[in-house]
């Protein structure tokens, strides 16, 4: 089963939840799609590392062949090409790699070169296979890395946990597209609720079965719990605010591996997720 863990807001506990769920699963694959700021590997400290460069295609001009017709520059929707002072300039940073300029150059003066934007790193930590996408700093878009991560993700019986980036934009959609179930992580603040609403809208748009895990729960009024109740989101787990858990987590230690109490917490959460996925599959079958 493929479980995506997401939240609109950052810092609610996506990595905490996905890392620990993977750690208590017998054999699991953990995929870090937060390619701008990947943190799961800091917890797993994977061994036997292998890395693969991820590249995009960027146009390359042969100035001998270019006759300055500007067809490419006019075509490009992203203004990645300009013909200035008798020379074709290419702005790699804004290029979307659509290939149009190469396709439509009447002089065949444009070719493509590969440009590295980051890596996909894989390794093992105990029984967990850890796959991490890492975008190079200064690069604008991690979407190609996420595409690669998702292409390589097994679709079989294995437990796959996908740690998504914050937000609800294109990069998050890529991460949840093939998920069987989405875990929405929320924290009990006004900000947390506002952003929970956004990801809730997103998973509904994609018709993904989903449930919420409330993290950092305090005594008293919990606006996130209230939101779930009002909007029919099933709460599949609550993790109380806990100083010891916070300390383990801030030291990048995997709570479920360090302490039996937390192993219990995440084992029962995983059990709950499994039941939810089965229920969702049954409903899907009936349709």
């Amino acid at each position: 089963m493929r479980i995506a863990v997401l939240s609109g807001k950052g810092g609610t506990g996506k990595t905490l939840i996905s890392v620990n769920l993977a750690a208590v699963s017998k054999e699991a694959i953990y995929i870090d799609c937060d390619v701008e700021e990947p943190n799961g590997h800091l917890f797993f400290k994977p061994e036997n590392l292998a890395a693969e460069y991820i590249s995009v295609k960027i146009p390359l001009v042969d100035n001998e062949l270019c006759n300055g017709c500007r067809i490419c520059a006019v075509f490009c929707q992203y203004n990645a090409l300009a013909y200035i002072n008798q020379k074709l300039l290419i702005f790699d940073d804004v290029c979307h790699s659509c290939g149009g300029c190469v396709l439509f150059c009447p002089e065949k003066a444009l070719a493509e070169k590969e440009k590295n934007i980051g890596i996909v790193q894989s390794g093992t930590s105990g029984l967990v296979h850890v796959i991490t996408g890492i975008l190079d700093t200064g690069e604008a878009s991690g979407v190609p890395i996420i595409k690669k991560l998702m292409q390589n993700a097994p679709a079989g019986q294995e437990d796959v946990f996908i740690d998504c980036p914050p937000g609800s934009d294109c990069i998050v959609m890529g991460s949840i597209k093939d998920a069987d179930y989405c875990v929405l992580v929320a924290e009990p603040t006004l900000f947390g609720v506002h952003n929970l609403k956004m990801v809730h809208d997103l998973v509904r748009l994609f018709r993904k079965p989903h449930g919420a895990v409330l993290n950092k729960c305090l005594e008293g009024y919990d606006p996130a719990a209230q939101y779930c109740e009002d909007h029919g989101i099933r709460i599949i787990g609550r993790i109380p605010f806990d100083h010891d858990l916070g300390t383990l987590n801030s030291n990048a230690l995997i709570a479920a591996r360090e302490n039996g109490k937390y192993r219990e917490v995440f084992t029962s959460l995983l059990q709950k997720v499994r039941e939810e996925v089965q229920d969702a599959a049954a409903i899907d079958f009936k349709r």
Binding site: L42, G100, G138, E139, C170, S250, N251
Partner: protein, 291 residues
Amino acid sequence: MQQLLILSGKGGTGKTTIASAFIKLSNAKAYADCDVDAPNLHLIMSQSDEPKRSNYYGLSKAKIDLYVCIRCDLCRQNCRFEAIDSGAGGIMYEVYHYACEGCGVCEAICPVGAIKLIPAIAGELILYRGDAVFSTAQLKMGSGTSGLLVTEVKKQMTSVINDADIAIIDGSPGLGCPVIASLNGADMVLIVTEPSVSGISDMERIIKTAAQFQTKIAVCINKYDTNIKNTEIIESFCEFRQLPLAGRIPFDPEAVTAINTGQSIVEVDCLSGQAAREVFDRTMQILVGNG
């Protein structure tokens, strides 16, 4: 007008909490929320006036006219974004809206002119003009081009006010296009970090990104007392990299209470609010060059 941008790399370290405190303390006449993907600043900066709302058009999206389409498949073969599906029986060609990046290859390659690029609304720009100018936006779910919208948010702010002393800009997490767009034109970046291994890793990556823009960078450590050892690691890292420290803010449950009632931490009497005042004073000194 000096632009002070608040960033963090990691989410949830307290960007908006600090930004709202700074707006109150500086009595800023201009401020903006550049976290267009998950904006929150408006929740705490309550406004009495109705804002001006305008549509934000991002990249256009391709649309196929099936009455004209001859099923030649050229569009699908040449789309790098795998945004075209040949549909039921391979004859009902359609564009997968969320995958389309509006490049126009399909439109240009279609031999019968069956494909057109149609402008698409990708979000909403929101401008408040009460006692101060507050520019914000909300990206439509699943849209790309958040960087362009960030640029529009900043433009919207500077188009109506340019003589304020300072503009406080709440940034977004991460280090990709929205962050890069917000860095453009910023005079100083305050990085709000937290003493966790994740926070430190993300801080190092955002500093690397911000350094390419040659703006002033300062660091403040939020919830510093949740892990003193890591706080010290951050402080020695900053010393080593010669980055000025703007201060420490303690973990404070009253901060959550303040935020949940729509108040900034400097509007209530609490420890984090007091610390935020010191961080603010220090940040202003660094900004004007006496750091």
